[in-house]
């Protein structure tokens, strides 16, 4: 796409990779999701703090069971090209995202709608669970009760697009969001201009340029030369930035887990005592302090602070090698055993894996580190070929469901995200209940119990919840690290001249 992006004018952000597409239906990567949040609207959306707030829908309600949801749309919203946005456009967008043959890879947020799976598979002509009684109302019927359904509609795949789209829509999209598309030179930059007629009030800045900068050192150099408004601080660079730019830094605890999944179907890892021993053998506190500059909160479960169900009173596994050895001996492994730990090439994972390897060697567990590129690691882990997997879980939305159903429900063993292949029927039942109950108090109680049970079953070596750190230029105001990747829409940010 043509057009030289203006450097130095307006705000400047960056992505570490070119987005795959700007078409919500085809969005499958974080980069696309971030850009789609600038260009489009959803019925509901996340604010910077990760709260679910009205988007195109001003209000919504569910029936008593949590199986049917009705959304009432804002009046007078128009797409950037002037076409009106109504409930029919919402329905058409969802049908488009589920269309058979679309090659869409991230349809899962829409699949709870009754008939969505059949439509996507090409066995039904429409999605039976969607109805549009009038221009400003859309009603969804689900296959079962699901209290997170409104949250799922805030995902990029559910963004609303015009009812007819050009073949090049993914390259030059038309949305209704706070920013209008101007240009996209692949692997170089995207340029957006503010939507002056935005229903939520136009963005403060005139333009937003999003550069594509893959290398972390180059990102830092661009920031330090004033070409970027904000930059993320790599963990290994924390101390330098805290010394050089202390007034420009801001932090936010990320809704992210850093963990080692133990394949509970392989060898000694089938034994709960072994899994607990491995948790006890690792000096997590020291690794966190020395490898991550202390930017993390020790994990005693999978649900991070700030998310419903987080239990601050639960203590993490202590570092106790003697207890770990005792447990191994009880399990019949007094002399230890050999394991493979798979990880990709990310710098911080390299260091953490080495530290874990050293700690486990002290209790006789010999760890072979297997380094591969990310797709190879993912394939091996999903196929159950890895004993241990060091990785992280980036939550799509801030809900306990996102830290239980994909990670530990038996139906998600492997590709779904349950890389420990944990199968526990009691836990499964609790997780299904936490997704379905319409009672918020019960949901909170269940979430806490689920996390406690997960901690006890030790399918992971629980490491920590990372803390994100970013720098913001002194002349930029109104920007905050978003809690969710789609939560920063750059409407309040501006340069102070």
């Amino acid at each position: 796409m043509g057009g030289e992006p203006p450097v130095g004018a307006g705000l400047a952000y960056y992505l570490s990779a070119d987005p795959a597409s700007l078409d919500p239906a085809l969005s499958s990567d974080v980069q696309s999701g971030e850009m789609i949040a600038l260009l489009f609207d959803n019925l509901v959306q996340f604010d910077t703090e990760g709260r679910l707030v009205p988007g195109l829908a001003t209000r919504w309600e569910s029936d008593r069971t949590g199986t049917a949801y009705t959304f009432h749309l804002r009046a007078g919203v128009r797409f950037h090209d002037g076409r009106p946005l109504d409930a029919r456009a919402v329905r058409a967008s969802i049908l488009r995202a589920l269309a058979p043959g679309s090659r869409a890879a991230r349809q899962w947020p829409l699949l709870p709608i009754a008939g969505a799976r059949e439509y996507a598979a090409g066995t039904a002509r429409t999605v039976s669970g969607m109805a549009v009684p009038d221009d400003s109302t859309i009603r969804f019927t689900l296959t079962g009760p699901l209290n997170i359904f409104p949250t799922l509609l805030a995902m990029p795949v559910a963004a609303v697009v015009p009812d007819s789209t050009a073949p090049s829509f993914g390259q030059a999209p038309v949305g209704s969001g706070p920013w209008r598309f101007v240009s996209w030179r692949h692997d170089d930059a995207l340029v957006f201009a503010r939507n002056r007629r935005y229903w939520g009030g136009p963005p403060r800045a005139d333009t937003l340029t999003v550069r594509i900068i893959p290398e972390a050192v180059t990102q830092a150099a661009e920031y330090e030369t004033g070409n970027l408004s904000v930059v993320e601080i790599p963990f290994g660079e924390t101390r330098r930035w805290e010394l050089a730019h202390p007034d420009e830094l801001q932090q936010r605890p990320a809704i992210r887990d850093l963990y080692i999944a133990m394949n509970t179907t392989r060898g000694p890892l089938r034994d709960l005592r072994v899994r607990r021993a491995l948790n006890l053998a690792i000096d997590v506190e020291t690794i966190l302090r020395t490898q991550m500059a202390g930017r993390g909160v020790r994990a005693a479960g999978a649900i991070p602070p700030g998310i419903m169900g987080y239990d601050s009173t639960r203590a993490p596994y202590p570092w106790d090698t003697a207890a770990a050895r005792r447990l191994l001996a009880e399990a019949g492994y007094p002399d230890g055993f050999r394991l493979q730990l798979w990880r990709n090439q990310r710098t911080e994972l390299v260091r953490i894996a080495q530290a874990v390897q050293q700690d486990l060697a002290r209790i006789g567990v010999s760890v072979e580190i297997v380094e591969r590129d990310a797709p190879s690691v993912r394939a091996a882990v999903r196929n159950g070929r890895a004993d241990l997997y060091l990785g992280d879980w980036y939550a799509d939305y801030p809900d306990p469901e996102n830290f239980s159903y994909p990670l530990f429900h038996s139906s998600n063993a492997g590709p779904g995200g349950n890389y420990a292949f944990l199968r526990d029927s009691t836990l499964d039942a609790m997780i299904i209940r936490v997704r379905s109950t319409p009672d918020t108090a019960e949901k909170a109680r269940l979430a806490r119990e689920i996390d406690g049970r997960v901690f006890g079953l030790a399918p992971w070596i629980f490491l920590w919840f990372p803390v994100d750190e970013w720098a913001m230029q002194p002349d930029v105001k109104g920007w905050r690290i978003p809690a969710v990747f789609t939560g920063q829409r750059w409407t309040q940010a501006d340069r102070v001249r």
């Binding site: 450097v7 795959a20 085809l26 899962w108 996507a120 692949h186 893959p214 661009e222 590129d373 590709p415």
Partner: protein, 305 residues
């Protein structure tokens, strides 16, 4: 010459057929699944099965190969699994940036390397010659990645003379071109020096000097022209490799070229994009070699095809 060109162009067909077959087979036995890369961290088995069917990944391998070759013969390199764009369009969008960078790097390498080489050969053992030798060893030894970052820190962050990265005009080209061309400067300067030393000691140079020709004319017109063939070989090979493999430089300097496209395709197991890129770059490499051969004949009348 015409027969030579036609013959070489005809050889393109079996060469590319070989490249096509080998890449196809290698990619399908390599670990990693494109669909797993597409679906991200959270997927269900029905989505994976649907995508495999839509992308024809469950078809027998020979059928997939025949389908792919059929497309290539029609000039269709396929559609990217990830971006859903025609691969040829993606490559053609990025190739001008790669060509620009490779051209600038070669210009820098040729001018600097040849000048250094000629001067070193003309005054062997002098300070410039000795410094040139040390610099050449260093330039060949330093990793491109390290040099690139160092140049950014020095010229962009500390001195603020040049932009750190991007592709928005001639100023943006300087640092990546220096980084990419540095290794060629070293090789070309050493190669030129060796070839020039040989020529400057040859009988025809002594004759030229005896005839009373000026030193500049002797060195440049007589000795250098004859020393140019091996230098041209190095420049041709390096230019070909810059056009096809400047991945590191493009990544460090956020240069929107073909190298980064290939890297992303590999990272995401975008099989058609990898295949299409390799095929496209093979054509480029063969054509650059052909161009180098043609230049031989232009430079040296003794070379005939």
């Amino acid at each position: 010459m015409r027969h030579f060109l036609l013959g070489r162009l005809a050889l393109l067909v079996p060469t590319l057929a070989g490249v096509l077959a080998v890449t196809f087979l290698l990619l399908y036995v390599a670990p990693g699944d494109p669909v797993q890369a597409m679906v991200g961290e959270r997927a269900d088995s029905s989505t994976i099965a649907r995508l495999r069917a839509e992308l024809h990944l469950d078809d027998p391998l020979p059928l997939q190969f025949v389908r792919y070759v059929g497309g290539v013969v029609r000039g269709d390199l396929g559609t990217s699994y990830i971006t859903r764009r025609p691969i040829l369009d993606d490559l053609l969008e990025r190739f001008p940036a790669t060509l620009e960078l490779a051209g600038a790097a070669m210009l820098f390498a040729a001018v600097t390397g040849i000048s250094l080489g000629i001067y070193s050969a003309w005054r062997p053992g002098g300070l410039a010659d000795r410094l040139g030798a040390v610099a050449a060893y260093l330039a060949v030894s330093f990793p491109v990645y390290w040099v690139g970052l160092l140049l950014i820190l020095l010229f962009a962050v500390t001195l603020r003379w040049l932009p750190p990265s991007g592709a928005r005009g001639p100023r943006y080209l300087i640092l990546p071109a220096l980084t990419l061309g540095m290794r060629s400067v070293a090789v070309v300067s050493r190669m030129t020096r060796a070839a020039m030393r040989e020529m400057l000691g040859a009988d025809f140079v002594r004759t030229a000097r005896a005839k009373g020709l000026g030193e500049v004319r002797v060195v440049l017109r007589h000795a250098f022209r004859n020393a140019l063939l091996p230098v041209l070989t190095v420049l041709g090979l390096d230019f070909g490799s810059y056009l096809t493999g400047s991945i590191l430089t493009e990544t460090i300097f956020s240069w929107p070229g073909v190298g980064r496209y290939v890297l992303t395709a590999i990272e995401k197991r975008d099989l058609p994009a990898i295949q299409g890129s390799i095929l496209f770059l093979s054509v480029v490499f063969v054509l650059v070699n052909l161009l180098t051969d043609v230049l031989y004949a232009k430079v040296d009348p003794r070379v005939e095809y």
